[in-house]
């Protein structure tokens, strides 16, 4: 019985299937879902990020993350303070999870903004004119600039509001999306199936939107995941230096900064747990990026 069902299931895709009504997005989602099942890393990474985000907003925390308890400062991890406390008496455990409320949304918003700007600019720059070559040369230079420091300077000069941090992150990431989309589009435009689309009478817009852009999306998604990981580092760096998010708001960078003053004297937990959280988040984003790269068949192996 079970064998028969198995055989039937295997035979199904062979039959003429009905036109799928799910539409493009539906099919893309289903493909991604199917990919997630076959690519464990992608699923794990995605679930971890989701869990961190959900925990940040909804998990019941044992202590108030932005209300210090001056009576218990620099306590090592124990039954009450699972990750210990810092020198102000903040509960490290609660703050590590509360930090996700700020750090992750900022990283995602900055990444989304850079995609939103990078894709159209990249597509626009994918014609082979001298003009676009020069723009790219300029962009090269801009990208070779120590962008991290530039982002620090911008946030420092404009003030550490959320918008400014997001803007700085987008600025750091936009060049690589322009570059990526452009170089992908340049290759695609030379490809046979784009020539074929032109040959059947597709308009330039149709070629761009229906053939070139969709074929860049996979690699853009992978890059976006890497960019988000980078954004996490930038935000943590900003806060670590005291330029970005400031106490008492919870942020992993702020917590590492606070703990950095005690690490040389052995109170490792204050910096360690937020640092470990940053590490886990970045690894998760990298896993998603790897998974997507594999899924679209662009991995080295």
């Amino acid at each position: 019985m079970s064998r028969a069902r198995l055989v039937l299931a295997r035979a199904l895709p062979q039959r003429a299937t009905e036109p799928s009504e799910g539409g493009r997005a539906g099919r893309a989602l289903r493909a991604l879902g199917k990919g997630a099942l076959t690519h464990k890393g992608l699923t794990i990474g995605f679930v971890v990020i989701l869990l961190i985000l959900l925990a940040g907003f909804f998990a019941p925390l044992p202590h108030d993350p932005i209300q210090p308890n001056p009576e218990s400062t620099l306590q090592s991890p124990d039954g009450e303070f699972w990750f210990g406390t810092d020198r102000f008496g903040f509960d490290v455990f609660s703050r590590v999870f509360a930090s996700a409320r700020l750090d992750l949304p900022i990283a995602l918003a900055g990444t989304l903004l850079s995609i939103a700007v990078g894709i159209p600019l990249g597509l626009a720059a994918s014609n082979k004119s001298r003009w676009s070559e020069r723009i790219m040369r300029g962009l090269d230079m801009f990208q070779s600039f120590p962008l991290l420091v530039l982002a620090f300077a911008i946030v420092a000069l404009t003030g550490n509001t959320l918008q400014n941090i997001i803007f700085a992150i987008a600025l750091v990431n936009v060049p690589r999306f322009i570059r990526l989309v452009r170089s992908e589009a340049l290759v695609l435009r030379e490809s046979r199936f784009i020539e074929a689309a032109t040959a059947i009478g597709a308009s330039r817009t149709r070629v761009m939107l229906r053939h070139v852009m969709p074929n860049t999306m996979g690699i853009v998604l992978a890059q976006a995941s890497l960019a988000a990981a980078h954004a996490i580092i930038v935000i943590a760096g900003l806060s670590f230096l005291g330029i970005g998010i400031t106490p008492p708001d919870a942020s992993w960078g702020v917590m590492i900064r606070v703990g950095s003053q005690n690490i040389a004297t052995g109170q490792w937990w204050v910096s360690f747990f937020p640092g470990a959280m940053v590490f886990v988040t970045i690894v998760a984003f990298n896993m998603v990026a790897d998974g997507v790269t594999r899924l679209i068949g662009r991995a080295e192996d």
Binding site: F193, E195, A199, I200, G201
Partner: protein, 322 residues
């Protein structure tokens, strides 16, 4: 009037500082329902001619007319609309199909563009009919190109080309990347489609065997020029241009008992960035003797019924040894 005419067409590409003279004054015509084969080696400009014939690139000089419509200088919208009537099948079947689209959507796309009034159901029916016509299982409708074999992929390419009912199809080496047994099936299909739909083909190829099997007339290209053209039997059996003669002798018959004389050519094809003076074939020619060879580019002259060759000399006369 012929369905397709190219008159005095020239095309030069700029590559960095140098200019590549890809097509240097080509005259061709193709009648409705016939197959003109364009033979030549790499760099002879045959693929460029194919794209010029469809208006995919615009000539620098000369004119291209398809079905009474002059393609050069046409505005983009009209040209796009005209593509309902003319199209192309490429050499690399897989690369010519959008990897993200299903087989059905690939074949459907020309209909979406040219016949927007069709309902999805009507479109689907047309697509299924076309798939059957090119002997492609309609069950493959939802498959992606990479799940198909090379032969099936090329059938998708053919289906996409004929779904709008064109009159003129450029076949740009449609079988050269396929295995022999698959090639046979595709050639058979193309021949049947031509018979049933009255298609005119410009069949671009470097393989003498398939050209011999497949075409009505033949044009031989060398360095961006047509050096010889005429009915298939005349050109392939009694070549009148020294290059055609050498090219044909280089083909290897599959029959071991047949051993044609090999007329070896010296040197390589001159670079299309610097066209030679005189006859383009002068540097490799075994017959050169006429004083004009070195200084004048010979025009096509009639050497038989409908048979033309661009040469001063007479092939068949004793070759002048070098």
């Amino acid at each position: 009037m012929a369905l397709v005419t190219l008159s005095e067409v020239r095309k030069t590409f700029r590559r960095g500082r140098s200019e590549v003279h890809a097509v240097n004054g080509v005259d061709l015509h193709i009648e409705a329902g016939e197959t003109l084969a364009l033979i030549g080696e790499s760099g002879s400009g045959k693929s460029t001619v194919g794209r010029l014939a469809l208006g995919l690139i615009q000539p620098d000089e000369g004119h291209v007319t398809v079905d009474g419509m002059q393609l050069d200088g046409l505005d983009r919208k009209t040209l796009q609309a005209a593509r309902q009537n003319m199209t192309i099948v490429f050499q690399e079947p897989f690369q010519s199909l959008d990897p993200l689209m299903s087989v059905g959507r690939i074949i459907e796309e020309p209909l979406v563009i040219h016949e927007p009034s069709l309902t999805p159901a009507e479109r689907r029916e047309r697509v299924t009919d076309t798939m059957q016509r090119v002997i492609l299982d309609p069950g493959l409708y939802e498959r992606r190109p990479r799940e198909l074999s090379g032969g099936q992929q090329q059938r998708v390419g053919v289906a996409r080309a004929i779904v709008t009912g064109p009159k003129f199809v450029v076949l740009d080496e449609p079988t050269s990347s396929l295995d022999l047994s698959v090639q046979a099936g595709i050639l058979e299909l193309l021949a049947n489609l031509q018979r049933d739909l009255g298609l005119a083909y410009l069949f671009i190829s470097h393989d003498i065997g398939t050209v011999d099997y497949f075409s009505d007339r033949v044009a031989v290209m060398y360095l961006g020029q047509v050096v010889e053209t005429g009915p298939k039997a005349a050109v392939l059996d009694t070549p009148r241009h020294p290059y055609t003669e050498a090219l044909l002798s280089a083909a290897l018959p599959a029959d071991p008992t047949e051993q044609p004389p090999h007329i070896a050519l010296t040197g390589d094809i001159p670079s299309p960035t610097q066209l030679p003076e005189g006859c383009f074939f002068y540097s490799r020619c075994n017959y050169r003797g006429d004083p004009r060879c070195a200084t004048e580019n010979p025009p096509l002259r009639q050497v038989g019924p409908n048979h033309w060759a661009a040469t001063f000399c007479d092939v068949g006369s004793t070759p002048v040894s070098l």
